[in-house]
């Protein structure tokens, strides 16, 4: 509660990112509660063996979280070079993740579990993984923001702030994906 609002204060904005995370969680909560009711009414879920691609993508996204963590650590030690490398690596992993998701959908379609389906639980898989992918795009945006911060000549506090919001959001979508994947596994 300082009156020092005239200097750069990252706290309120970091808090904004957290609140975004909350509202996003709620949205997926809305989806999963739809799914729960639906499954309770049918007595069955999507009933599929989820494509292996989802396992790979899970590993990829965990890896990207780790690279991002290293990037943060490097920034704190003012090691901008490694930070940039790690950030680029995260972006690449994110792109790979996207590709794997697409191929997972391809596999699903091949087995006949298409989006348009009389089992809404199967359509549901596409919806949540698709919306999750939207979050990935937003997350990549934030990573680029951190990258730009790393290249630009701005105060360290701002660089750290950019890095930090990218990390918060990225770890969130990582956890979100794991949650969704486990949810889909458990509620066959």
């Amino acid at each position: 509660m300082e009156n020092k609002q005239d200097i750069f204060d990252p706290r309120p904005r970091k808090f904004i990112v957290w609140l975004f995370v909350v509202s996003s969680t709620i949205m997926f909560g809305g989806f999963t509660s739809y799914y729960l009711v639906f499954v309770a009414s049918k007595g069955k879920g999507h009933g599929l063996v989820l494509p292996d691609a989802f396992i790979y993508s899970t590993f990829v996204i965990i890896a990207s979280s780790i690279t991002l963590m290293i990037a943060s650590r490097c920034l704190r030690k003012s090691n901008f070079k490694t930070q940039r490398v790690m950030l680029w690596l995260s972006v690449i992993l994110a792109v790979v993740f996207g590709f794997i998701q697409f191929s997972a959908w391809g596999n699903l379609v091949k087995t006949g579990a298409t989006l348009v389906n009389n089992n809404a639980a199967i359509s549901f898989i596409y919806i949540v993984s698709g919306l999750h992918l939207f979050h990935i795009i937003a997350g990549v945006g934030l990573i680029f923001n951190a990258l730009a911060g790393s290249y630009k000549n701005i105060p360290l506090a701002k660089k750290e702030y950019r890095m930090e919001i990218a990390s918060i959001f990225w770890h969130f979508i990582d956890i979100l994906w794991i949650y969704l994947y486990v949810f889909l596994l458990l509620n066959r």
């Binding site: 509660s33 729960l36 639906f38 309770a40 009414s41 049918k42």
Partner: protein, 117 residues
């Protein structure tokens, strides 16, 4: 004259009486006992027909919740947080349970009344 403003700051919780070794052991002990009871129920009481399946399930769920409470309260330090946070978290927890229960009941009901399954 001295400027005396009054701020109603929450009285700080002195030192955060954390977990000493004895306490950790005690909580761990409680958790072990609960787990043991759970095992007994799952491996002996239910298969042996000493308690009916569904009652067993409820006891099981209750014990698991108790366990979760201990873990969250002691190992995740909730017990030592501000009262406000404790209330908010327990409230959200209760609400989430409320939703899940309502939604499962409703889902089942819709299922029963669907014409073509």
């Amino acid at each position: 004259m001295a400027e005396h403003t009054h701020t109603n700051e929450e009285h700080e919780h002195g030192d955060h009486a954390g977990m000493d070794k004895g306490k950790i052991l005690k909580v761990a002990g409680i958790l072990t006992i609960i787990t043991a009871i759970e095992f007994i129920i799952a491996l002996w009481a239910i298969p042996g027909g000493h308690i009916p399946q569904h009652i067993g399930n409820y006891i099981y769920i209750a014990l698991t919740l108790l366990k979760a409470f201990y873990i969250v309260a002691y190992f995740m330090h909730l017990k030592f947080e501000k009262l406000g946070l404790q209330l908010v978290l327990s409230l959200s927890f209760i609400l989430i349970i409320y939703f899940i229960v309502l939604m499962l009941i409703e889902g089942h009901f819709i299922g029963v009344h669907m014409i073509n399954h």
